[in-house]
């Protein structure tokens, strides 16, 4: 529970925080940040699960963009990427060590490897007094309020919605009937489970769509290639391939290409990898979804920064500003050009002073 702000023993609770802030339009005013804060080395981190995935690269680039903003306001900082290599333990340990090193002067964006470890990551940060925002995964029964004020926010790009949206785009592309292949991500992974759940919801709305094959390719391109290559032999009349991410969509496309079916069989992915976005443009892929990693990490860090600098008090923030969805961009033939211009050819322009402009409405 949150404490009333009468005690004055912490700077966050001092007069700088107004009673009712218009969070939607809250803007960082650098002049309100005490000089001693600006001169303190702030440790900035993103905690991710391995760098071989292009989506994760956009996460780290989001941090880089945010750090440019810190430069612009004269904040002293040190940045770090914490790589868990897909291991829960390593991610928790990384966070503990990072927090211990920073002695409370830390902000972090974390993509918990599994839902279960989100509270542990928050706890690791809370015990040293730093600030953390998580994304994607957290247990249903845990919330940022459990670690006030250190677990500032939890955001997610809604996997169920994204899975459903791409599935619907695929089915529409097929004219509402035909056979599809379903390629799942790693078994037991929350993102994969939710995306497949979205797919299944869409499936219910399209009774003439039939799932011909469904298997996991463990998020990997070559495994997806092998699956589709094999399946095409007994289902040459497949109408579409739904993939739980773009890495696997790349493999599916390659398998189709071998049978000269590229462009004829619809494919969808999620993540908006560069090559898939190009394939959307070329008409070989029906749709993909960008979760906008730049925005996720950049703004999460901005909000945590505001909390660390004492500009906002997370404990005082209303629920909808603690847990919210970030806008996802579905990329289809209709908007692919503008998407490329904004997100691929350049890093999207982000105004980190307006910290809550990342909240989907």
């Amino acid at each position: 529970g949150s404490q009333p702000s009468e005690t004055t023993d912490t700077p966050a609770n001092s007069g700088t925080v107004a009673e009712d802030i218009d969070y939607a339009n809250f803007t960082i005013d650098p002049s309100k940040i005490p000089q001693e804060k600006l001169d303190t080395t702030l440790y900035v981190a993103t905690s991710v699960r391995g760098l071989e995935n292009p989506y994760i690269v956009t996460i780290t680039e989001g941090m880089d963009e945010f750090c440019k903003y810190l430069d612009s306001i004269g904040q002293k900082y040190e940045k770090q990427v914490l790589d868990s290599g897909g291991s829960n333990d390593v991610e928790i340990d990384n966070m503990k060590q990072f927090a211990a090193k920073a002695k409370g002067n830390a902000i972090a964006y974390a993509d918990p490897n599994e839902a279960a470890i989100a509270p542990s990551l928050a706890e690791a940060m809370a015990s040293s007094g730093g600030y953390i925002g998580t994304a994607w995964n957290k247990p249903d029964d845990a919330s940022p309020q459990d670690y006030d004020p250190n677990w500032v926010i939890h955001t997610s790009a809604d996997n169920v919605t994204n899975g459903k949206a791409t599935a619907k785009a695929l089915f529409d592309n097929m004219g509402g009937k035909g056979k599809v292949f379903v390629i799942e991500g790693m078994l037991g992974n929350t993102a994969s489970i939710d995306r497949v759940k979205g797919f299944e919801q869409a499936l219910k709305e399209y009774p003439d769509i039939e799932v011909a094959h469904q298997d996991t390719a463990n998020w990997a391109t070559d495994q997806a290639l092998t699956l589709v290559e094999t399946w095409l032999n007994d289902t040459p009349d497949v109408g579409g391939i739904w993939c739980a991410n773009d890495n696997m969509a790349t493999g599916a496309l390659q398998a189709l290409d071998k049978k000269n079916l590229k462009g004829k069989v619809g494919v969808t992915g999620i993540d908006a990898n560069t090559d898939i976005v190009e394939a959307v443009k070329a008409g070989n892929v029906v749709a993909t979804v960008s979760s906008n990693g730049y925005l996720q990490s950049g703004y999460t860090l901005a909000i945590c920064y505001a909390a660390w600098a004492g500009l906002i008090d997370p404990a005082q923030m209303p629920e909808e500003y603690r847990v919210f969805l970030t806008p996802a961009v579905m990329v289809t033939a209709d908007n692919v050009d503008s998407y490329i211009a904004e997100y691929v050819d350049s890093v999207p322009k982000m105004d980190f002073a307006k910290i809550f402009s990342c909240k989907a409405d």
Partner: protein, 339 residues
């Protein structure tokens, strides 16, 4: 006296018939992997009907076979030495990544064409050479050296494209993935070519014999004046070559360079080598065995995928079948120590 002779004769006969039975048994175990392969084929054809034995699926199997075959070929020599090479995942991934960044690609300005592919293979050869040299000169178990290099190579691969996998834009190279000759994919032809090279090395060169000898007991070749260290380094270099070709073909097949091209190749390759009949203790087996072993593994994966086994239990089922295959094919006997 006559009686004695009769008795003596019969023990000789007993012995002769025993040898015959032993030889028959041995011949059977020698062919066991082939029987397993045929059995797998028949079972899948029965369960899956024509779609499994269809021409197009056979081509898919050949296509899926190429890279495991290459990896397992390289590994076979290493295992014949009695050593092990755990660098596979990293080396293959590195070679694939480098191939993609050397040729015309979406990440940088390089455009070395086919030479880029050779250069990538060459890098992998160098890694193999370094692994062998460190293993031999510093007397560190190959297990550890190659494991360390798995990490190092994965790092090199990752760095080469900085996180965003490069797509191959060179049209000729990209087209290799789709080309075939006599209905068999070019990629598979390349793998078969490497197989012939390996077979030649194994059967027709002194080096090939020396590998067996070193694997059996390295003090003996040493005493004869064979440079055992050189043999070992050569084997690891050869393995590096095979892994490099596998990585490059992998990148061509995917149309993209990625470190993960190498992921999860190692255990199936090991299983294939062992199922084929090459002993992990060294000195036995060879590349022909490996051909059969990799075919068994490829057909198994292909069939299971077609059957649409529930993914939750698929790994378990795979494990079980591999176990059964090994049980059926591994040569056993009271004198053989298995570790």
């Amino acid at each position: 006296m006559g009686k004695e002779k009769l008795a003596a004769l019969s023990i000789t006969e007993e012995f002769a018939s025993k040898i015959k039975a032993d030889n028959q048994k041995e011949r059977l175990t020698k062919w066991a992997p082939v029987f397993v392969l045929i059995a797998l084929f028949l079972v899948f054809s029965l369960i899956l009907g024509g779609s499994f034995a269809s021409g197009s699926n056979l081509v898919s199997i050949l296509n899926q076979w190429a890279i495991p075959l290459l990896v397992a070929l390289g590994l076979t020599f290493v295992i014949m030495l009695g050593s092990i090479d755990l660098s596979i995942d990293g080396t293959v991934g590195m070679a694939g990544s480098l191939a993609a960044v050397f040729v015309l690609n979406s990440r940088n300005g390089n455009d070395m064409g086919v030479w880029g592919l050779f250069l990538a293979v060459f890098c992998s050869v160098i890694i193999g050479f370094i692994i062998g040299t460190i293993h031999v000169k510093l007397k560190i178990p190959s297990f550890m050296v190659s494991f360390a290099f798995m990490n190092i190579c994965a790092g090199i691969g990752l760095l080469s494209y900085g996180g965003k996998p490069p797509t191959i834009k060179d049209e000729f190279i990209a087209s290799i993935a789709k080309s075939s000759f006599l209905e068999i994919p070019i990629i598979t032809w390349v793998a078969l070519l490497v197989f012939v090279l390996c077979l030649y090395i194994q059967e027709c060169t002194p080096f090939g014999r020396h590998i067996y000898a070193v694997g059996t007991d390295e003090t003996i070749p040493k005493a004869v004046g064979i440079n055992v260290n050189k043999v070992k380094i050569k084997v690891f270099t050869l393995a590096g070559f095979c892994f490099g070709v596998a990585g490059v073909l992998g990148a061509i097949r995917l149309g993209q360079g990625q470190v993960s091209i190498g992921a999860d190749l190692m255990f199936p390759a090991n299983a294939a080598v062992v199922i084929g009949g090459t002993a992990l203790t060294g000195g036995k087996g060879g590349v022909v065995n490996t051909v059969v072993g990799t075919l068994i593994m490829t057909v198994l994966f292909n069939g299971l995928t077609m059957m649409g086994v529930n993914p939750n239990i698929k790994t378990g089922v795979q494990g079980l079948i591999i176990l059964i295959a090994v049980a059926l094919t591994v040569k056993r006997g009271s004198t053989i120590i298995s570790k």
